[in-house]
C-alpha cells in the first residue's frame, strides 16, 4: 500500500492537520494509503512513497528520494487536494497494480 508521511518539526501540529485532511481526501477518492504524521527526526528513519510538508520544511527535505509535496496554506482544501492528488496519480502511474 502507498505510504504517505506528513512531516513537521514535532509531529504534533501541522503534520497532524495535514494527515487528517489527506486521509479524508484519499478516502473520498477511494485511494488506499497509509498516512502517518511524523516529526523530522523519526522521518529520517522511515520509508515513504510521498512526503507532504509545510513549505518551510523544504530545507530539511532536500535529500529525500520520495516525491515531496509542499503546502503553503494548510487549511486550503483546494491547494491540498490539487497538489496531493497530482503526486498520488503520478505515483500510481509508476506503480501499477
Amino acid at each position: 500500500v502507498m505510504r504517505i508521511a506528513t512531516v513537521c518539526g514535532m509531529g504534533f501540529g501541522t503534520s497532524m492537520m495535514l494527515a487528517m485532511q489527506i486521509r479524508r481526501l484519499l478516502a473520498e477518492e477511494g485511494v488506499r494509503s497509509a498516512v502517518d504524521p511524523v516529526d523530522l527526526a523519526s522521518f529520517k528513519t522511515m520509508r515513504a512513497d510521498i512526503v507532504v510538508a509545510p513549505r518551510d520544511m523544504h530545507p530539511h527535505l532536500k535529500d529525500v528520494s520520495a516525491r515531496v509535496v509542499l503546502v503553503d496554506n494548510l487549511v486550503d482544501k483546494t491547494e491540498i487536494r490539487t497538489k496531493v492528488l497530482e503526486s498520488v496519480r503520478a505515483y500510481l502511474a509508476e506503480h501499477p497494480r
Binding site: F12, G13, M17, M20, D56, N73, L74, V75, D76
Partner: protein, 161 residues
Amino acid sequence: MNSAPGDLNEILHRSMVRARLKAASWEEAVEQAGRLLVDAGSCESRYVSAMADAVREIGPYIVVAPGVAMPHARPEQGVRRPAVAVVTLERPVEFGHRANDPVDLVIAFAALDKNAHLVTLQSISHLLMNQESLARVRAADSDQELWAGLGIAPSTHGTKE
C-alpha cells in the same frame, strides 16, 4: 450539543483570548500567546521558550495559513493540561514565512493526549476554514468581540465557570 474531549469549547476559555495585543516581533507575539497558557496553569514557562526555539531551529512552518501562526511545542516540554490561547495583534508581525506573512492571528496550544489533541486540531482547522468567523475574529476590537467571533458553543460537560 455534545462535545468530545479536546473540543474547543472544553479547552478554550474566555480568559484565553486577547484582541489587538501589541507585539513588535514574532518572538513577542509567541510570548504573548504563551503567557496566556502559563497564566491559565496549562504549562510551565519553559514551554513558551520551547515554542520559540522550534521556530528558530526548524523554521516558521507553524505559520499554517495566510496571517495565521500556530505556535506549540512537545507535551514533555512542560505541559500540565491541554489548552488553547487565541491572540490577535494590533500590528501584524513577520515570521519569515515565504507565503503566509505577515501574521495577525496567533493560536498557541498545549497538548497532552493525542486523541483529544486531534479533536482540538480539527476544531481549529474548521475555524480557520470558516471565512466569516475568521473575519470577525480579525476585526474584533475587544476580547469580548474576539470571543464572540470564535463562535464557541458553551460546553455541555459543565467544566469550570
